[in-house]
Subunit: 382 residues, 2 copies
């Protein structure tokens, strides 16, 4: 395994990094969580590390947030040779800044890098660097539980030739964005399920956080919006397995065909969906609480339709770092065989149990330090 | 349809463009076709045009070839919101510079842009701009029929936020590379056919020239190289349809199951493969020559295997702008059911007919102006 070079100035973490500081700037919207939106206001610094096939990783830099200078032939711009991650830091009720399970993001990023034929890196060093980045911009972590600091690590190919092949030059970077909530959850999320729009397939890269999984979804998201929906719900294969929604995982709380109360989400071993960290956390919490059967099992669109008709679906929700847990209130299904658009009402918002709310508030309590769960909370020492 | 803004200095073409000239530089390898490789030596200028959702297209610029300044959150770097094209200009035996069927590339780029939710543009204006770019760097079009000027138009999203959605800011650019041959054709190309590696799927974007189609293939290309092969041959679906090889289309000249001599290539209406311009040209030439049945019909891996065993495959070749027409001499088939790697020898190099060579030399004759075919040759007036 390759590790980052350890020259540069030692920092408080003990990990050396070259540091170039920017003058502080604070946008007025930073203090108005409802105006932040997602990923629009950036903090002042970023991590920037170059790699080349001969030298390996160059010393990491933390420098002012600024444009990249990219060669016109860089593979990142032609062949989508690019990967990313998304995680968050939260300002806790005790004044401590916590990052939620970042080691899982770094491990996933390394798995993605392997599939993308991008270089490996050291998880521990990446975490120390992200700590350092947050420390430098600590004032920009919003002091409210309505917002957070979204962290965006990325790696992309910068080499200067048009051949389609393994890259000899790469950049690893990370910046942060002061971020509010992703959805308006008051009315519930509406999903468009169209079997002709397919996100991933067997033999593809649906389980990796590669940039290439996202571009084709933009058109589909636009179609969803034209139908009054917030996101697409992705179906896969002839039997129309329900896999994901937008760029999020999904869960259904239902009374299954064996008359059991069950929290169900599709399994990741199909390779069709991203193994989300919020997904994993929801599964772990639900298993810990032991209020219902918890299953990672495929279900089809026709199972879902039947269950909705028989009033066996109690809650349906999405999960993701940007969205936390978000209730789904409606699925619009393009049933091509029957040539109809069927509107499936999902009673998530009015369910007695409000299981998604319990998950949302528990996650939020852990994020903002109202509940201690040390192994999920990486504290950034200031 | 949106057109490019028409301010700027009128040029000899009558089409206005802002022009900033660079000092000429000529790399010594420009004169040694066998050292050029593909897409490694760039000429001195590039086209650069910005678009935003409010203003539309800004005036086109031709400026010195140099790095882009790209915002770290640009969708091109995270969600693969990027498309490209590839075409070539050739220095003819009569001293004229010809571009091969560029209007087909621009039409395909516009179709791709539509699927990618990137802005439309005007084919005629794009062609005039590319003419102008070639004119400015006319000295860099190699004066040999062993090399050419590869032209790379591209469009990518530059807006400065992380939301996954339609872009409000975009860049259209085009640069050129002095290019030699893509393969060494003396020994024939070897392909690796592994049904577990899938390039495209129904409901996806395999028929568009979006960057996202390429990143997942880099790993597969590496696997192919580890098996001593030059490229992957892509199979699709349960019945293992033969679709493409590397980033190229493919053709088989065989005696089919009805005992007819047939040139066969998979059809593009499946949406699984790129409608190549060299592919279209090969089909048009073969139909004009009328030496055999010419079919756009699917064929499966098992049909291919059987035909090889029965010595009914005479030639197998790939086609593409970079590769022209390239003979395939071997297909290494990972047959998972039988748990074997089967080496299929294809007698392309020793076939009596040498049909691929006739295609290659006819294409080359048209490229370099030894044959006149006006509707395929766009002459750049100097």
């Amino acid at each position: 395994m390759q590790i980052w070079s350890s020259s540069g100035t030692p920092r408080s973490s003990g990990f050396p990094v070259m540091l170039v500081l920017a003058p502080p700037t604070l946008h007025e919207n930073y203090f108005q969580p409802d105006k932040l939106g997602f990923g629009r206001y950036f903090s002042n610094h970023m991590i920037d590390i170059d790699w080349d096939v001969k030298e390996g990783w160059f010393p990491p830099k933390i420098r002012p947030f600024q444009n990249f200078s990219i060669h016109p032939a860089a593979k990142a711009l032609h062949y989508a040779q690019q990967i990313f991650e998304g995680l968050k830091a939260y300002y806790g009720v005790d004044g401590k800044i916590r990052v939620f399970r970042p080691e899982l993001n770094m491990e996933r990023m390394r798995r993605t890098a392997r599939r993308a034929t991008l270089p490996d890196f050291n998880t521990r060093e990446a975490l120390l660097l992200i700590d350092e980045l947050i420390r430098v911009d600590a004032d920009m972590v919003p002091k409210t539980d309505q917002a957070s600091l979204y962290i965006r690590p990325m790696m992309f190919a910068t080499d200067q030739n048009l051949g389609i092949g393994e890259s000899s030059q790469v950049k690893w970077a990370c910046f942060t964005a002061i971020t509010g909530s992703y959805f308006n959850y008051d009315r519930g999320i509406r999903l468009l399920a169209d079997p002709e729009m397919v996100r991933s397939w067997k033999g593809g890269v649906g389980q990796y956080k590669m940039g290439c999984n996202y571009a084709p979804t933009i058109f589909v998201g636009k179609m969803a919006a034209m139908h009054g929906c917030d996101q697409a719900m992705w179906l896969s294969g002839e039997d129309r397995l329900v896999t994901e929604a937008g760029a999020m995982n999904l869960f259904m709380l239902w009374t299954n065909e064996e008359n059991e109360l069950e929290l169900i989400t599709p399994p990741t071993d199909s390779g069709l969906l991203l193994p989300g960290i919020t997904r994993q956390t929801v599964l772990e919490l639900a298993r810990e609480w032991d209020l219902m059967k918890v299953s990672e099992t495929n279900f089809t669109m026709s199972q879902l339709v039947r269950a909705v008709r028989e009033k066996r679906v109690h809650e349906f929700f999405v999960s993701g770092t940007a969205a936390n847990v978000g209730p789904v209130s409606e699925i619009l299904y393009c049933d091509k065989e029957r040539e109809i658009m069927e509107k499936l009402h999902i009673p998530t918002m009015s369910s007695n149990m409000q299981f998604h709310k319990r998950l949302h508030s528990t996650l939020s309590d852990i994020h903002y330090g109202r509940i201690e769960k040390k192994e999920w909370q990486r504290i950034v020492e200031l």
